[in-house]
């Protein structure tokens, strides 16, 4: 690890510059349309002397906890002489989301900034709980053109207001075991039919090896599966009542129920159990977030010459995959608006953002993807470049302020179908009965 080396790339902010930026940040926030309470910029504290006092910034970070993030914090503390109180979030996504929802709904003043995902940016942004970040972009001269535009416009903003600056890029790609493929004499599938053929050739149930891993447990993961498969059929998680989506869902279930190229336990598998299975040679393919690549890369049991990835095969309608991100949002009810803005600006810097490669993640700035070090430690970046080059192959999830309700409704009903409790038609009808009014409320 060469974390120390990056310290030289940082540009320390002078105290004068910081004073200026803090004041300007408050002014911008005040000018912005949102009614977020804005802290007065260090009024009556006696200027220079007061600024020398270290301020405390409270942040919450999801989801892993390791040395890399402590490094980012240390760097920030060194540069600003502020103190960061860093809180580990609950690992279960749903619990984490509920925790932040509860806090923000009760006008939390103890959190200044937090690591938010696509859903949270939309839900909390629309609720008015996040500070608009346009002033931060302007203040710190952040070039948003360096980000994948869909991440900025489709999942970090709501109603044209930016509530989050993407930090780590997450795109789903197809992982595979090169040694299994070689052994079976097959090459990466290019469409759904081939996927079944290749999967069948790779599956050896007696040896406990399956062609493809599916993580269909409820609580967000099945929702992503529904979204990427139905999207390739021309549907979406909020648009299931059409032939393409139905075909996709039937195809998905057939993978384990009919073709037996995935284990019967698929409806109960989650990311961590598939990850564990992957480490014990159980799977040959997995369509999953590229962070998984990084997780393997940073794991001691990674076998660099045995795992690679390919772009998703062509579905009935398209060959798209889904993309999203985690990023930093500032809490509107925080009394430390200037500090939160400073933190968001800090994390948006290339040199800071890049440090995510130490957890195997690809930073959200496109200009970093070709960096050799990024390509080495975050091995999915070449594939992201391929996807970008091919053009139009990545699509953000259809995030609206009620996305969690939509996900819940789709997951519950599709899961009932996957576990033989209802028919496909019943599942789709029941899901859309619930989703349609919600969607109307969001968009209408």
């Amino acid at each position: 690890m060469t974390r120390k080396a990056h310290a030289s790339m940082t540009r320390p902010v002078s105290r004068r510059a910081f004073l200026k930026t803090a004041g300007a940040g408050a002014a911008f926030a005040a000018l912005s349309a949102c009614a977020a309470p804005v802290a007065a910029p260090a009024e009556g504290t006696g200027g220079e002397e007061a600024m020398a006092e270290p301020q405390e910034l409270n942040i919450v970070y999801w989801a892993d906890s390791n040395d890399f993030f402590q490094g980012v914090i240390d760097q920030y503390q060194e540069e600003t002489s502020n103190i960061v109180n860093y809180e580990v979030a609950p690992a279960v996504y749903i619990e984490w989301q509920q925790m932040m929802t509860t806090r923000l709904a009760s006008g939390d003043t103890g959190t200044d900034a937090f690591h938010s995902d696509d859903f949270q940016a939309a839900i909390y942004g629309a609720a008015g709980w996040l500070s608009p970040l346009e002033p931060v972009v302007e203040l710190y001269d952040i070039d948003l053109d360096d980000w994948p535009q869909t991440l900025i416009h489709d999942v970090s903003s709501w109603d044209g207001v930016l509530y989050r600056i993407p930090w780590g890029n997450d795109t789903e790609i197809f992982f595979y075991r090169t040694d299994y493929f070689e052994e079976a004499g097959v090459s990466p599938p290019t469409d759904w039919n081939e996927l079944v053929e290749v999967g069948t050739a790779l599956t050896d149930e007696d040896a406990g090896v399956y062609g493809i891993a599916l993580s269909a447990t409820i609580g967000g993961q099945l929702g992503n599966e529904i979204q990427h498969w139905t999207n390739q059929g021309g549907g979406a998680i909020n648009n299931l009542d059409n032939d393409g989506a139905r075909e996709a869902l039937a195809f998905y279930k057939a993978l384990y129920a009919e073709h037996n190229i995935a284990p019967d336990s698929a409806p109960q598998e989650d990311y961590s159990s598939v990850f564990q299975g992957w480490l014990s040679d159980k799977y040959a393919m997995w369509w999953c977030w590229d962070g998984f690549f990084g997780a393997m890369r940073t794991n001691e049991e990674f076998w660099a010459d045995q795992v690679s990835a390919f772009l998703p095969p062509m579905g009935p309608d398209n060959a798209e995959t889904i993309t999203g991100c985690w990023g930093w949002s500032a809490v509107a009810s925080s009394p430390n608006q200037d500090l939160a803005a400073e933190w968001v600006g800090f994390t948006a810097r290339s040199d800071v953002m890049k440090q995510q490669i130490y957890r195997g993640r690809v930073p959200a700035r496109v200009s970093l993807w070709a960096d050799p070090e990024v390509q080495d430690l975050a091995p999915s970046s070449p594939f992201l470049l391929d996807l970008a080059e091919a053009g139009g192959l990545v699509k953000a999830r259809p995030v609206t302020p009620s996305i969690q309700e939509i996900y819940d409704a789709a997951e519950q009903n599709v899961h009932a179908y996957l576990t033989d409790q209802v028919s496909l038609d019943e599942a789709v009808t029941a899901a859309m009965d619930k989703i349609n009014p919600i969607l109307e409320r969001d968009l209408g």
Binding site: T101, A127, S265, N413
Partner: protein, 296 residues
């Protein structure tokens, strides 16, 4: 008896002064919020959408159309009946066991209490691991005995049993302790008389023990049933209400609607439904209990 002339105003005042803290505390933290829940259930109230609009009976109408509510009521019935039945039968058996004289009886009685003392969330979280198809304790044992590895949480019937089993494991101790105490209260002479009449163990259990315990058993059935309807942690940490919504319980639904997606109005309507069910169980149970007492 305590004095007749003591019904003085002073005494009554003192009495009410003494019960006021408890009454007030409960009124503010339980009764008032409950009434308020009833009130909110007539509103579309969401802090996310920033609404507080009167909608009449809309939330209750939505309840009748919500497939989740159907599934939840189905499982509530399954869970309550199966868990209460198992707990009562096993509780009686364990009480009988702990009532015998044997070496290590004190140790066994203490062990019996351990699951009761553990936090429900700990047990529910551990159960997720214990029911895991590949690495779980239960499947390891089943696999050693039969070579099979059932998919507990995939099949909706076995998932329902997994929730029940976890609940029974945690809570049977409580019933066993109460039944044991009931057994100890039965006069030994009754058994001796039965022995003279030539009744064996099973017969005297059937004709003496059970009838005498019956009021206790019935009141425990009511008590246990009410708490089954209110169960939250096991579903929250073990199944997330799945597969599909096959193991969803009303408390969990209130949590989802109320605190995951912040539909306070609709969640309040579900909470009222939950209260209504508890009320029915309580009233029905009270009727049975009275009849049992009368028969005795």
């Amino acid at each position: 008896m305590f004095g007749q002339q003591n019904l003085s105003t002073r005494r009554i005042l003192l009495a009410w002064l003494l019960v006021t803290p408890v009454v007030l505390w409960r009124l503010l933290t339980s009764v008032y919020p409950f009434l308020r829940t009833f009130y909110i259930s007539f509103f579309d109230n969401s802090p996310v959408r920033r609404t507080f609009d009167f909608v009449g009976l809309d939330n209750y109408m939505a309840l009748t159309r919500d497939a989740n509510v159907d599934a939840t009521l189905t499982f509530t019935l399954f869970f309550t009946v199966s868990s209460v039945a198992l707990q009562v039968v096993l509780g009686l058996a364990i009480a009988e066991l702990l009532n015998q004289r044997f070496k290590m009886r004190n140790f066994t009685r203490a062990v019996n209490l351990l699951p009761w003392a553990m936090a429900p969330i700990v047990i529910a979280t551990a159960a997720r691991w214990i029911f895991h198809q590949d690495y779980g304790l239960i499947n390891d044992i089943i696999w050693r005995l039969s070579g099979e590895r059932p998919l507990w949480l995939v099949n909706f019937t076995t998932a329902r049993f997994a929730v029940t089993i976890t609940d029974v494991w945690k809570n049977t101790a409580f019933l066993a302790v109460i039944f044991l105490s009931g057994l100890q209260g039965i006069p030994l002479e009754l058994y001796e008389a039965a022995k003279i009449d030539g009744a064996d163990g099973a017969r005297s259990y059937w004709y003496i023990t059970l009838p005498l315990l019956m009021p206790l058993i019935i009141s425990m059935i009511i008590f246990t049933a009410i708490f089954r309807v209110l169960t939250f942690e096991i579903v929250y940490a073990l199944t997330n209400g799945g597969p599909g919504t096959a193991t969803s319980l009303l408390s969990y639904l209130v949590y989802l609607e109320g605190f995951r997606v912040l539909n306070f109005g609709y969640a309040s309507a579900i909470a009222m439904l939950l209260f209504f069910i508890v009320l029915i169980v309580g009233v029905l149970g009270y009727g049975f209990l009275r009849r049992a007492w009368e028969r005795l």
